[in-house]
């Protein structure tokens, strides 16, 4: 039954909804961007506080609201990630909004509502709630893609996003419907229980798996469901693009892993599931990396780069599924690597995108050649952006190196050596295109000599992101200490019974 403590468990989301409503009302009465941005940023303290309080007083997984809400270490980990995204987004978008978009309040409100949806996607243990959370995440994103009202590319991006989003939701719902038909419940724990008795060779299970993977494939932009990503990333306002590339993707993975692992789908007929996901992972890696290498527009390049990054994450997911029937503790190391990877990816990509926002704002172009010789014109921005790109490429000193190493070692140990080899080869390709931007920025002759001064909010964002990246590099073990139990908590509900 409903208890007041349920409200406490839902408090981060509730307070975030309230914050979004407050920002919405403030937007009605003042036109001053600084007020709206400050309220959004300061208001984030409340949900962050609730998440921290829940994490500190954590005693074990709890469910609330008729088992729709699951608060375990996994959901807490993702809630932290999404709140980090929200805070970075407020800062990173501040100047861009003033320059290009008339509706500043709307951007923040939509972004906050979307973050609520993302947090719920990571912390619901029930199919219908997952679907509603998914839509709550997606609808604001569609509107955000079209916020550049005078740009036809932006409208096109929004329309494409809506249509593809609707289609992927339909596919996903088919999968959910089949799961419900097979097990008679929408509760993931109930599904996990009833899958215990399923034997191999049940065609419907495979069909349901494939439909669910296809549905989430759109959200995480995995090949062959990636076609929307480059167009939408290019057309949407750049801060919105940054938000899609980290938020939508992290939330998609959060829900996908929740269903696959916590929902116990690995108990029935695992081989086809692994084959399907493995093929998707390989295709994603190859296409993402090779297509990124030939782009000239930096936003399109980042779109393909984020497709490639989804490939690495999928490798970790496949690895976990490979071992999940034999050894839960070992298998969870794959998910732990994935969680670490997602955290690092979020910080890095936000940093790289704020660098791109700043540099393309200042130079007025989004082509890679527009970035020539920026080292001489804006050293701080260039160094920070380069560090983020190096981390995306997985070059040793930065955290991106560790996140790739964890994914690869986990996948190797869990018995997917071929995936690791392919991923390694692909990440060599990735050095080429990340390195090309760095080379252009440092060694090519600048177009003009005059110094570029980035607005304070953007330079703060990128410095913060780079600092966070360096801190993550130092405290790798601390993060892993949080990620390991978070990954294990997905299996815990099944082992406990």
């Amino acid at each position: 039954m409903f208890q007041l403590s349920d409200l406490y468990l839902l408090a981060p989301e509730i307070s975030l909804v309230l914050l979004a409503l407050v920002v919405m009302v403030i937007d009605l009465f003042t036109k001053r961007r600084i007020v709206i941005a400050t309220v959004s940023l300061v208001g984030l303290i409340v949900p962050v506080g609730f998440v921290i309080a829940q994490a500190v007083t954590y005693t074990g997984p709890r469910t609330a609201l008729f088992r729709m809400l699951v608060v375990d270490q996994y959901s807490l980990f993702f809630r932290v990630i999404f709140l980090i995204i929200a805070a970075f987004m407020v800062l990173a978008s501040y100047n861009y909004l003033g320059k290009y978009i008339k509706a500043e309040g709307e951007f923040y409100v939509l972004m906050l509502f979307s973050v609520v949806g993302m947090m719920l996607m990571a912390s619901t243990g029930e199919l219908i709630s997952i679907y509603i959370a998914l839509e709550l995440t997606s609808f604001p994103l569609y509107a955000m893609a079209g916020l550049l009202r005078s740009s036809t590319k932006s409208s096109e991006a929004a329309l494409k996003y809506v249509l593809l989003g609707a289609m992927s939701s339909a596919i996903l719902l088919y999968g959910f419907a089949l799961l419900y038909g097979l097990t008679g419940t929408t509760d993931l724990q109930g599904i996990a229980q009833s899958f215990k008795s399923f034997g191999n060779g049940n065609l419907m299970v495979i069909v349901a798996d494939v439909l669910i993977i296809a549905g989430f494939g759109f959200k995480i932009s995995a090949v062959p469901f990636h076609m929307w990503a480059p167009d939408i990333y290019e057309g949407a306002p750049t801060p919105a693009t940054a938000f899609f590339s980290v938020g939508s993707k992290a939330a998609g993975f959060a829900a996908l892993i929740r269903i696959l692992v916590y929902g116990g789908l690995w108990q029935a007929d695992l081989t086809p599931l692994i084959v399907v996901l493995g093929v998707v992972a390989v295709l994603t890696l190859i296409l993402g990396n090779f297509a990124a290498a030939v782009q000239t527009n930096i936003k399109r390049m980042m779109a393909y780069s984020s497709i490639a990054q989804a490939g690495y994450i999928l490798v970790g997911v496949v690895a976990t599924l490979t071992m999940s029937q034999k050894n839960h503790t070992a298998a969870s190391s794959g998910i732990a690597a994935v969680l670490f990877f997602i955290l690092v990816y979020v910080v890095t990509n936000l940093g790289a995108f704020s660098g791109i926002i700043a540099l393309s704002n200042l130079t007025g172009g989004e082509k890679i050649e527009d970035f020539r010789g920026l080292w001489h014109r804006s050293p701080l921005l260039t160094v920070c952006t380069s560090l983020c790109l190096l981390s995306l490429a997985g070059i040793p000193p930065v955290a991106g190196f560790f996140s790739k190493v964890f994914i690869f070692t986990a996948a190797w140990q869990l018995g997917q050596p071929w995936l690791v080899i392919i991923a390694l080869l692909c990440s060599i390709v990735s050095i080429v295109y990340y390195g090309r931007i760095i080379k252009v920025m440092f060694f090519d002759a600048p177009r003009k000599e005059e110094r570029l001064v980035a607005p304070i909010s953007l330079s703060t964002t990128i410095t913060l992101a780079t600092a966070a990246l360096l801190v993550l590099t130092v405290i790798v073990t601390v993060v892993l200490d949080a990620a390991n139990p978070a990954a294990l908590s997905l299996f815990a509900s099944l082992l406990g019974k």
Partner: protein, 117 residues
């Protein structure tokens, strides 16, 4: 699987029958086409006004807002049916829902979405 077999047979037969009817009419029916007959939505009478008529975009906005609020109001019905069982909890839930709705209402109002001119 066995229980689904009659359904598959039924669907296959239905599709085949549909194809058969189309093939037979195409084969046997007389064809004397004229431009009027080939026009879409032809009914034999010449049209008296162009069906494409312009309507103001403002109407579209009102229509969209109507759908949003309409669907939200529909969610009151299941609550109304269960209100006796849900008691105070249900009522509070309704009020919270209304409050969120009201913020949206005030928002579109203040933004001028309801002014026609």
């Amino acid at each position: 699987m066995e229980t689904a077999l009659p359904v598959f047979i039924y669907v296959t037969l239905a599709i085949l029958f549909g194809l058969l009817v189309m093939a037979v009419t195409g084969f046997l029916g007389p064809k004397k086409p004229s431009p009027e007959k080939l026009a879409p939505y032809e009914c034999g009478i010449q049209e008296i006004a162009a069906p494409k008529r312009r309507f103001p975009v403002k109407y579209l906005l009102t229509g969209m807002l109507f759908i949003a609020f309409d669907i939200e109001i529909v969610s009151f019905y299941p609550l109304a049916i269960l209100l006796h069982q849900l008691k105070l909890f249900g009522l509070l839930e309704l009020l919270v829902f209304m409050a969120v709705l009201m913020v949206g209402y005030v928002y579109v109002w203040r933004k001028g979405a309801f002014t026609w001119e």
